[in-house]
């Protein structure tokens, strides 16, 4: 059985700047994979390639053995890839329920089943009480949840979370962690980009470390943070020796 997601020698440049160079790794079914690296390492670029927002210059991305790189983003979403955004993008003219219904309409043509699905997802993400609130009036933490809810409503196989826990209070971040675990327990594979290491490391099964557009190392979270290469990338040569 092929891995849920295979990233196979993916390269992407933007106007001469190489954002990703020959990146390869697999994501196993039901896994939470952390994508880490210093600023400018190419994490969000890689996310955009996987989600279908951009087409890689070279290499291939496969979902359950089927090539998805090169497909339009809408098609990738229909095949089961959902995502959240680094900067929250809610539909601000709509209520919370309506926001999530947009996601549910990916699988349901009619409003009733879409609403039923959306309400179920709102219940799961703890936003049921806010269903009829306008999306713009949510708190930052609630908006992050709304993005997850909207993504889940498309019934994905793979969920990409881009800095979902960044900028939250410790309490909010902890409940975010609980939500991510619950999502995984539904059988959804997760790739997450995150900077807050003390939250990320206990949560993820494996980490892929990027630096300057390349894969630095792949491994268990405890291993990669002790890797001298990783410490050097983050903190410089002086600390790597210590």
């Amino acid at each position: 059985m092929p891995a849920r997601l295979e990233v196979d020698r993916v390269s992407k440049s933007f106007g001469g700047v190489a954002a990703n160079v020959g990146i390869s790794f697999d994501v196993r079914d039901g896994e939470i994979l952390g994508l880490i690296g210093p600023n400018g390492a190419g994490k969000t670029s890689l996310f955009n390639s996987i989600a279908g927002a951009v087409v890689p210059d070279a290499g291939e991305i496969r979902l359950d053995g089927e090539r998805i790189s090169g497909l339009p983003q809408e098609e990738c979403a229909l095949r089961g890839i959902a995502r959240t955004f680094q900067v929250v993008r809610s539909f601000d003219s709509m209520t919370v329920l309506e926001n999530v219904m947009v996601g549910a309409f990916a699988r349901h043509g009619r409003a009733r089943p879409a609403m039923t699905k959306a309400l179920e997802v709102l219940d799961f993400t703890g936003l049921a009480g806010r269903a009829d609130t306008q999306a713009y009036s949510l708190s930052p933490a609630e908006k992050r949840r709304l993005e997850v809810a909207r993504a889940l409503a498309t019934e994905p196989r793979l969920l990409l979370l881009d800095e979902m826990l960044t900028g939250l209070t410790p309490t909010e971040a902890q409940s975010g962690v609980a939500l991510i675990r619950a999502v995984r327990d539904r059988g959804i594979t997760i790739i997450m980009v995150e900077h807050v290491m003390e939250i990320l490391l206990p949560l993820i099964d494996r980490a892929v470390v990027l630096n300057l557009g390349r894969v630095l190392t792949i491994g268990l979270p405890q291993e990669v943070v002790r890797n001298p290469e990783v410490i050097r990338a983050y903190l410089g040569d002086r600390y790597a020796a210590a």
Binding site: A51, A53, P72, Q73, E74, E75, A77, L78, A82, R83, F85, R89, S90, F91, D92, S93, M94, T95, L97, E98, M101, V102, G103, F105, A106, H108, G109, R110, A111, R112, A114, M115, T116, L119, D123, A128, A131, D132, T133, Q134, S137, R150, A151, A153, T154
Partner: protein
């Protein structure tokens, strides 16, 4: 929570009920009024409420600000008028043909223009509208600058199919109201369907919409086709009503502003904005013109323009947000 318990469902039911009441009120409104001037004013107001709603479907719900809707209005007017004068097709049917051709025109315009976004799209529609105007002005087959006189078909007498009535304005009131009701119902149905959700997502954030499997370009095209169809129908009704059309009266750039104005003033992307906006705007422009316009100094236009600016400054979300039972903000805490 059962789906039926959510605010959306209750709001939609209430809106349908309010619409039925409004429809009845507007239907009997001209009965006690006998002077032609006022009846004409009511008909034009209702017609523009419908036109603004037709524009609102593309501009309000899908967020594609078109400033060239006079093209679709004019195409609808010309097609129905030409079908009558050249082929003797009754305007009752010609109206549908006019709508269909206008929808085709909207798709044709959308094909290149929807690749632009935001202001660039709006500017492109202005240009396309002007091209249409000049084309019809110089096209002899459609009467050029002389326009088309819609003839009185002899021996037919009163005919609903031919939209022909000797002196009575009342039947045109029925047509205008029927048209406005159809546009409202279209908007209401869209609001509750997959299209309405998807279009609003396209308006709010196309990038996020795409990540949720929304096909942005086809969504815009569908909205344009429906908006164009309804606007063309409105143009056909207008042509039969006034009995004479030329590019200046049905395709001018000024008309492209007048069509969206009630929706903008009343509330873009709302069910009631176009009607509320038209009820305030059209009588206001008529009254200020008849009382102040005679001097030729343009005072009426200054007052008219000033009022629009005032509303835009004080109530940017539109006049309909002043009506508590129609607004959407209240539903935020409805559950």
């Amino acid at each position: 929570m059962h789906p039926a318990d959510t605010g959306i469902v209750r709001r939609r039911r209430r809106e349908l009920l309010v619409a039925a009441v409004v429809l009845v009120v507007l239907a009997v409104l001209p009965l006690p009024i006998h002077d032609t001037y006022t009846r004409n004013l009511i008909i034009i107001t209702i017609l523009f409420a419908g036109l603004a709603q037709a524009w609102n479907i593309l501009g309000g719900y899908c967020g594609q600000i078109s400033l060239g809707h006079a093209l679709y209005f004019g195409v609808g007017a010309y097609v129905s008028a030409l079908l009558l004068t050249r082929l003797n097709v009754p305007p009752g049917l010609g109206m549908l043909a006019g709508g269909a051709v206008a929808a085709a025109a909207a798709l044709l315009v959308g094909w290149p223009c929807f690749r632009l976004s935001g202001h660039y799209y709006a500017i492109a529609t202005v240009v396309v509208g002007e091209i249409g105007f000049l084309l019809f002005l110089n096209w002899d087959f459609v009467g050029g600058d002389a326009g088309i006189n819609i003839p009185y078909v002899r021996g037919l007498g009163e005919s609903w199919l031919y939209m022909q009535f000797r002196t009575d304005k009342l039947p045109y009131h029925v047509f205008a109201l029927g048209f406005a009701a159809v546009t409202w119902l279209a908007a209401w149905l869209i609001e509750g369907s997959r299209w309405g959700f998807v279009w609003r997502a396209v308006k709010d954030d196309p990038l996020a919409a795409r990540s949720l499997a929304v096909r942005v370009f086809p969504s815009k095209m569908a909205a344009a086709a429906i908006s164009g169809f309804l606007t063309g129908m409105g143009g056909a009704i207008y042509a039969q009503y006034v009995g004479y059309i030329d590019p200046d009266s049905v395709m001018s750039g000024q008309l492209s502003i007048l069509i969206p104005l009630p929706a903008v003033l009343g509330g873009v992307g709302t069910l009631w904005g176009p009607l509320v906006g038209a009820v305030v705007l059209i009588p206001l422009s008529e009254v200020s013109r008849s009382y102040l316009g005679g001097s030729g100094s343009g005072v009426d236009l200054m007052i008219y323009g000033g009022l629009i600016v005032l509303v835009a400054l004080l109530r940017p979300q539109g006049l309909s947000s002043l009506l508590p039972s129609f607004g959407k903000a209240r539903d935020a805490r409805a559950t």
